[in-house]
Amino acid sequence: MVEAIALAHGWEMQHDAAVVVLGQDVGLNGGVFRATAGLQERFGKDRVQDTPLAEATIAGMAVGMAAQGLKPVAEIQFMGFLYPALDQIVNHMSRMRNRTRGRLTCPVVVRMPHGGGIRAPEHHSESTETMLCHIPGIRVVCPSSPSRAYGLLLAAIRDPDPVMFLEPVRLYRALRQEVADDGRAMPLDACFTLREGTDLTLVTWGAMTIETLKAAALLEERGISAAVIDVATLSPIDFETILASVTKTGRLVIVHEAARNVGVGAEIAAQVAEHALFDLLAPIRRVAGFDTVMPLLKLEYDYIPSVQRIVDAAELACAE
């Protein structure tokens, strides 16, 4: 997946001279995960800039550059280091268009690794997408495969508004797939149905698509036909696809790695309750990270929801 991200950068920089890349170690080093590998060689130091080690600098500069006609694609090295940049994102990036009634805009992409599962150090494994989804005026996107990373990143760069692009670290190297470098973007307002099903709808995103698809396969052996939906665009969410599936199956289990409390899953559950309650055959269930601090690596897989937890929740839902 990491190569697909580099490809999307390359395509768009080739075709749009306004696109510039900035971040820590994105230049000569090609990013700590190699997501910008080769870009500085190809496009030069002006368009692929190593910034000083300061996240507020990255986000604030991106606001300034974007407002004056560039299309910055910024990398935050890990999601745990995003927080100094939130001031800029919440107070400026997300609302420049609104504040100026459209006179100035922020077509910025802020990319960041997301989630755990790679034995990384402290503060490197959190999933805090909810914080971003709560901010009006920015899109939040989380791809779950190389081709979706490619297509959604292109769409994010082309979008006229700020997009937070969360890249699941567990998938950077775990998923291999041929990706056509054809410059084709994917919609930023659509879920991806990864698997059709009639008994149950499993809704998830990011790296948890792996466990969720495995759970769906196990459920099939037990005679339960589970649909799997990759939300992909976490804010705004394409509820239409989710509601269509839930009204068909009548059962919904939401799976996410982030802590449960006020998670994106809660918003999905609320929307389904508002619009499809009478179609439900069973209470909505959430399989999520626990409402505690993401533990260090010895316990990180005790925190990340397991295939078994998803299967059990799905079977409970189907028993109702």
Binding site: N29, L53, F81, P84, D302, Y303
Partner: protein
């Protein structure tokens, strides 16, 4: 036109790369015992560090940030601090932690992915490792404020890297420390590299020490490979702060001989020749040379010390590897002083699906 402010930054070196004393030596430098203690501590840190990297390479440790080349700063700072002072480290200061009584097993436990490594028995008031860059500098300022309010003769010392001095939190810490005249010392370990970004790309400032000037704080640059200079300078800064003379910024020039962490490959962005040159001026060489010239050291003692350190490290590794995995529900044990009732259900769920019912 008239000049309203001017500044100069002094550079200090006592022991040069050749092992010569090039400036008036501080009192402790005349005590071979003190020098040997420091040399032993630097060797201990280096042997430990090299083993930790190997443990990561063989899957027995998580990502680990090597401190090779930083031993003079780490040990010089450790020796200059008093036990009751508070350390706010970054994540690389193994040498200082070891000097202050954190055990090798505890350090391995943390980098092995177990929070119990932060529950060290040694300096109970010290802050734990700090991964979010520069945030610890404000903690040190806050600790210093606590000492000042309680009129305790104690100081806080925060480490920060060269890259970290680009963060807003660092400037904010300097500012408040200067404005409130706090007993805090900031030690910038300028090892030349913030992962792949060299200092020259971080800042246009000639030195990092001069960042103190804008905050009205004293700043000094020292040779970070010279343990005598580090210890003397840090000790003077701490004693001045203790006397109520306010904060100080010390920029220690050294070199990151290793990768940023085991997840990094510095060969991708660094010139091999620069690294080789840096190995010639690394901190252990010159102190060993000084000790040999003082006839308190020889190859046999060197071999014995290395063997002793290796044995100690092996013991710690055995203890670390024999340790129990944390219990699954340990992730809830210290979330709050008392776990709220609504989380009991989640803890039960974690236990049900968890893999570990082992240690604490």
């Amino acid at each position: 036109m008239r000049t309203v402010a001017e500044f100069k930054i002094e550079y200090r070196q006592i022991l040069n790369a050749g092992g010569d004393i090039v400036a008036p030596p501080p009192g402790f430098a005349r005590d071979p015992g003190a020098l040997l203690d420091m040399y032993r501590a630097m060797t201990r840190a280096r042997v430990f560090d090299s083993k930790a990297v190997n443990l990561q390479r063989t899957g027995l440790l998580g990502t680990y940030p090597s401190c090779v080349g930083h031993e003079a700063v780490h040990v010089g700072v450790g020796a200059a601090m008093r036990p009751e002072d508070v350390l706010a480290p970054v994540y690389r200061e193994v040498g200082t932690q070891l000097w202050r009584g954190v055990t090798m097993t505890e350090i391995l436990t943390y980098w092995g992915g177990d929070e119990r490594g932060n529950h060290f028995a040694g300096p109970r008031h010290d802050f734990p490792w700090c991964v979010p860059i520069a945030t610890q500098t404000l903690h040190a300022a806050g600790a210093a404020m606590a000492f000042k309010l309680r009129k305790e003769p104690r100081c806080a010392l925060a480490y920060i890297g060269d890259g970290g001095t680009s963060e807003g939190a660092f400037y904010e810490a300097l500012n408040v420390a200067g404005a409130r005249h706090l007993p805090v010392v900031f030690v910038i370990v300028n090892n030349g590299w913030a992962i792949s970004v060299p200092v020259a790309a971080q800042t246009a400032a000639r030195t990092l020490a001069q960042k103190a000037v804008a905050a009205g704080v004293r700043g000094v640059q020292i040779d970070g490979n010279d343990v005598l200079g580090v210890r003397a300078t840090v000790a003077e800064a701490l004693e001045a702060a203790r006397r109520g003379e306010g904060p100080c910024v010390i920029e220690a020039l050294t070199y990151r001989l290793g990768d940023h962490t085991t997840a990094d490959d510095a060969g991708r962005y660094r010139n091999a020749g620069d690294v080789q040159a840096a190995w010639k001026i690394e901190p252990l060489l010159r102190l060993r040379e000084l000790l040999k010239r003082s006839r308190v050291w020889d190859d046999a003692r060197e071999a014995a010390l290395n063997a002793e350190c290796a044995a100690e490290v092996d013991g710690a590794v055995r203890e670390y590897l024999a340790g129990t995995k944390p219990r699954t529900d340990a992730m809830f044990d210290h979330l709050f002083a008392t776990l709220p009732a609504h989380l009991h259900e989640q803890r039960d769920l974690a236990r049900k699906y968890g893999t570990s019912s082992g240690g604490g």
